[in-house]
């Protein structure tokens, strides 16, 4: 089944936030962001701005009737700066005018003067100065201290990954409409309607039942609208509440890029020990997460980095410590993978370092250490592992041996171009790591004409979750998909939702829908059985008809529903689902936090132009563990899209801040995501159907985040190609591997020669250009 939104998407008829027909009297907002990264506000002059034509009012923190606070996990983030600013772009004032142009023109007239405070952009510096968002956390398995003596080979090093701009093509935005009784309705481009509801409720001092948040769909989210849609919604709500007029704010791309957080940059120190047989005996890693100026979701992201710090390997002795470091950058936030990719990059860097030093292929170490079923993760859960199967199938059907030989032969006969090949196994845990978030609700109405309306907490943002939910209902009721409509996500219909995140949305909301539909179908079947005087067990719904004992009757779905209504059978159901089995004890850092894991292995091949430092990604060939895919078209789209987004993170996507904390890659002209020419020439995906029972909806494993991490292999493939050209050059484990980094590495000298000059200008964050 195709994505149910495809038809209207292709005709340009799908409605996004900026497409909602405006109510008469609507006003337009624009935020004024701090021009400096850190300082004490000495004066905020809005007089000239307020006098601009069309300006209705300029809101500051003083206008907030409730609490000036939008921090979700930690209450450390004001909606509008009061006495201090903590990052460039931090909202300080909100201009409301009668047109978008007038609002934006007025923003330019606002003047902020401040006493500068030192701006920190480097997480290691923040950690050294004790600027931490939360106390450090440590995951431990076995005992690393006593294990080093068993290691034949020990390697230490550092690795760095940069941030990543979400670049949803639809920017952030909100449209707030005042209602009677001081209530407010907010259309928001958010992955977390309840998060928006809470933030607005807090800022306006209104109970949650007066705050209605409605989401039709998003033009992309990728985590960027999980928590960071709150600000714009709260600003619009604040203005609408005071002015009693609808207020809309759809951000300009440059506002969006400058004011919102991104994927967290990480720095790490690692130490890895292997025995004679190349089994990894011990691994120690310290993560320095660049959280930005406020907590946002950083503590949860940090936790997932720890959960995935050993990727798909079993390591008996692990000590992983993570610091969430407060810097003067926009608060970094959720992004597909949620800290997992950073944790996985570091272990892959450690393995690559060992392989390079030992003069062997990293794949040898990777293969020898793959998780087996029953192996323990550092957080105590036992693996139900598909890692060996994925690896063996990938290296067999895509013939790793032959690929390796081809690359070697090419490299032996070419001096100006070099090829590189890398394997990237992945293992990703599915569930929100915060156990309480693993619950969802679905509201299913069957109307008397047989049509079905469904509302869940899931937000459609292109991932196809609504398509899968519709499939669930169609399956249970055994009716045509056309009879079912998935409605907008709305906090007045479904309460206390978890955001659409963690790859778990289809599982949670699909299971809730399964429960609701099953309950309604059960009532109808029971009624029919009674009417027909047969045993309820013999009655079933198939192809739109009632079947008895496997025989089709003349009673179709519609007549069944109508009979139900006449007999006063409940045709609506609100069902609740909570993932069973999962638990986690943060005091011991042990538990069983994930419903299941998703596995896979990809082979990545690249070619580097050793004159120009440019490169092509030739192929990504994956074997991916789908469980039992319920929608191959949707799932393939997630895999291909995830791979390319991951490759973008590892290659051309470079978030650049200057020393003053100003974003230099602040537009699409300076921040590059893959275009159609930049993507791998070939992507092959083998659907590994794994038979084990799991907690996924219809056993169709979550697919949103895991494939992004195949992209990490692009970094290591490029590294291998560079090393085929420059065997002795020193270059750090630092992503992204931009053409700049590639060229500098190709011509790096043995002892930090060229590269040192390079490091002075671009450190691990790319912040110091």
């Amino acid at each position: 089944m195709k994505n149910i939104d495809a038809y209207t998407h292709l005709r340009g008829e799908s409605i996004y936030l900026d497409d909602i027909p405006l109510i008469h009297g609507t006003l337009f907002g624009a935020a004024f962001g701090s021009p400096v990264a850190h300082g004490v506000i000495s004066a905020l002059d809005t007089s000239e701005a307020a006098a601009q034509p069309g300006v209705i009012r300029i809101f500051t923190h003083k206008d907030i009737s409730g609490e000036n606070q939008i921090g979700g996990i930690v209450a450390d983030e004001p909606l509008l700066a009061d006495h201090e600013v903590h990052f460039c772009g931090m909202p300080v004032a909100f201009v409301v005018a009668d047109s978008i142009d007038a609002a934006r023109a007025a923003v330019k007239k606002i003047k902020l003067t401040s006493e500068p405070l030192p701006a920190i952009t480097d997480p290691r510096e923040a950690q050294a100065k004790g600027e931490l968002i939360i106390p450090p956390r440590t995951f431990q398995l076995g005992d690393t201290n006593s294990s080093w003596s068993q290691c034949t080979h020990i390697f230490e090093g550092q690795a760095d990954t940069n941030g990543q701009e979400h670049l949803y093509i639809e920017t952030q935005g909100a449209y707030a409409v005042p209602q009677e009784h001081n209530a407010i309705k907010i259309y928001s481009s958010t992955q977390g309607p309840t998060a928006v509801q809470r933030a607005v409720s807090r800022v306006l001092g209104l109970p949650m039942h007066l705050v209605e948040v409605e989401v039709n769909r998003l033009g992309g989210g990728f985590g960027g609208k999980e928590d960071q849609a709150n600000s714009w919604a709260a600003l619009c709500a604040l203005a609408a509440h005071h002015l009693k007029r609808p207020v809309k704010y759809s951000l300009h791309r440059m506002e969006d890029m400058a004011m919102t957080g991104k994927r967290h940059p990480y720095a790490a120190d690692f130490k890895i020990g292997l025995n004679e047989a190349l089994k990894i005996v011990a691994y120690e890693v310290t993560f320095y997460q660049n959280a930005g100026a406020a907590a946002d979701l950083s503590p949860a992201v940090l936790e997932r980095t720890l959960f995935h710090c050993t990727n798909s390997y079993y390591i008996p002795n692990v000590k992983a410590t993570a610091y969430s470091c407060r810097t003067n950058l926009p608060p970094n936030t959720a992004f597909r993978g949620f800290g997992g990719p950073q944790g996985m990059f570091m272990i892959e860097a450690a393995i690559a370092k060992a392989a390079e030093a030992l003069g062997i292929d990293a794949a040898v170490i990777q293969e020898k250490n793959l998780l087996q079923t029953g192996d323990e993760f550092p957080y105590g859960q036992k693996a139900q592992s598909e890692a060996p199967e994925c690896w063996h199938k990938a290296t067999t059907i895509y013939d790793l041996q032959a690929g390796r030989k081809e690359v070697d032969a090419f490299n032996a006969s070419n001096t100006l171009y070099k090829k590189g090949l890398a394997c990237m196994p992945i293992c990703f845990g599915i569930s929100f790591t915060k156990t309480l978030m693993n619950q969802a609700r679905s509201l299913v109405h069957v109307y008397t004409d047989g049509s079905v309306g469904i509302t869940t907490g899931a937000v459609e943002m292109g991932q196809g979750v609504n398509t899968k939910i519709l499939q669930v209902a169609a399956e249970v009721f055994s009716i045509q998909p056309e009879k079912i409509k998935i409605h907008t996500t709305n906090t007045f219909k479904i309460a206390n939702t978890s955001p659409s995140a963690a790859s778990a949305t289809a599982d949670l909301n699909g299971k809730a829908t399964l429960l609701a539909c099953t309950a309604i179908a059960g009532r109808l079947k029971k009624m029919a059985a009674e009417t027909l005087g047969v045993d309820e067990q013999l009655v079933s719904l198939q192809n739109g008809y009632l079947y008895v004992n496997g025989e089709k009757t003349d009673r179709d779905w519609k007549s069944l529903v109508m009979e139900g209504h006449l007999k006063r059978i409940g045709l609506s159901e609100h069902a609740h689902y909570a993932t069973p089995e999962i638990h986690f004890d943060a005091t011991r850092e042990k538990g069983h936090p994930f419903a299941y894991h998703v596995y896979g292995t990809a082979l990545i091949e690249v070619t580097v132009d050793c004159i120009r430092g440019t490169y092509t990604i030739d192929a990504v060939k994956a074997v991916h563990d789908f469980g039992a895919s319920m929608n191959k078209a949707v799932d393939l789209g997630q895999i291909e899209g995830g791979i390319v987004q991951g490759i973008g993170w590892m290659t051309m996507e470079e978030v650049v801040y200057d020393k003053e904390g100003r974003l230099r890659s602040n537009a699409l002209s300076t921040y590059k995501v893959p275009d159609i020419y930049a993507v791998p020439k070939e992507i092959r995906v083998d659907f590994l159907q794994t038979p084990q029972d799991n907690l996924a909806i219809f056993r169709s494993k979550a697919v949103g985040e895991p494939p992004l991490m195949y992209g990490i292999g692009a970094y290591f493939a490029l590294r291998n190609a560079i090393r085929a050209f420059n065997k002795s050059g020193h270059f750090p484990f630092a992503a992204p591997m931009t053409p700049e980094r590639v060229l500098m590495a190709l011509y790096a000298t043995e002892k930090k020669g060229t590269i040192q000059a390079h490091e002075e200008t671009i450190d691990h964050l790319a912040v110091n250009k």
Partner: protein
Amino acid sequence: MPSGTVLLDFIRYHEHLTGTKVGCNEGDCGACTLLVGTLKNNELQYRSLTSCLTPLGNVHGKHVVTIEGLNMEGLNAIQQAMYDESATQCGFCTPGFVVSLAGFCLSGKQATTENAIAAIDGNICRCTGYKSIERAAAKVAQLMHNRQAEAPTAFLAEHGILPSWFAGIKQRLYSLQTQLDGELQSPTATEWVGGGTDVYVQKHDVMKEASIRFLFDDDQLKGIRQEGNKCIMGASTTVTAMSESPLLQQYFPRLADHIKLIASTPIRNIATIGGNLINASPIGDLTIFLLALDATLLFSNGEEQRACPLRELYKGYKMLDKDAGEQLVSVSFELPGADTVFNFEKVSKRTNLDIASVNSAICVSILHDTIAHVRISAGGVAPVPKLLDLTNAFLKGRSIDPSTIDQAIAIAQTEIAPISDARGSAAYKRLLLGQLMKAHFLTILENAMH
């Protein structure tokens, strides 16, 4: 509506046609792509463009096509191909892709997958990873296979690929144009606009109410012609027109490869040579291209004309040897002779649709294994686009060998002053220029072998 209004805003917020999306406001994502049909010499030609950078004045008297205009009963064949390949996820970029592919169908270009994909080279999708879109593009190319000499609009209507009313547009445009003459140009214009691809990135807000002289459709500023051994290009010639010029194709055999490195299809369709030169970017691709050709500019102040060598135009960062009242009329250069080799190199973070970290061109004549004349230009390494005079002087009279190239690279380092910015560190740009010089000579040697 003021003629400086951005077409995208007009479409969405005045006409309430919301299928066209706002993505980046700087021509870098393609979500706002529209088709514009221009009737000239009784020929109707459709081109895609980014409506976020296009002033209403530049579509005066033309046929503007949005996604809504491409919709038929059910899905049109382009939409169906994308549907079948699941080439849409969040859907926000999707109308832009459909419009761009319609542009391919209307272009009359050869029905190859490569050409279909080239038509969407300005469209960014963040969800799909493009593979499904590639598969759909291949299907769209397939749809066009059977077209022979037939006009694209007739073929498309006949095969139900696009709505049949396209066939009647020519007549409607003709009658529209006869009614419109002379309404547009302001005699007291303070701003001059070519394609708008730079000025509308920099200050679209100011442009909205500005008094504008629109140069884009000025026939006297259009066209590429040969006079003797000279090529003369009108200032409003688009990059697309350059790439499609038989004259340039003849003298620059690798023109298509060079042009592919410059912007994207919808931008090339509107970006002009004059705009690229006069905006004085230190990294303008055509500037670097034309510097190596030692191009000469012809300015007019309305009364008299003045010739100015391009190499003397740039006086400092964004400073020109040009009076405010002077307008660029044309650019001319000597067509390369048989013993002359031209090459253009550009490296950016992303190979296509990006601004260079460093770009460079070379025009070199080799006689009896020695360099008779050489001009190497370089962008991104100084406040102005540069001819590497010292390097060029050094190379003259020498034979091409590794040590000469190494020395030339060393000399080049003395005459550049790159800065660190979002496009790369100074150290990188220094290394990269040297590498691009090597690439030039490798290309020349390769050429010599053929």
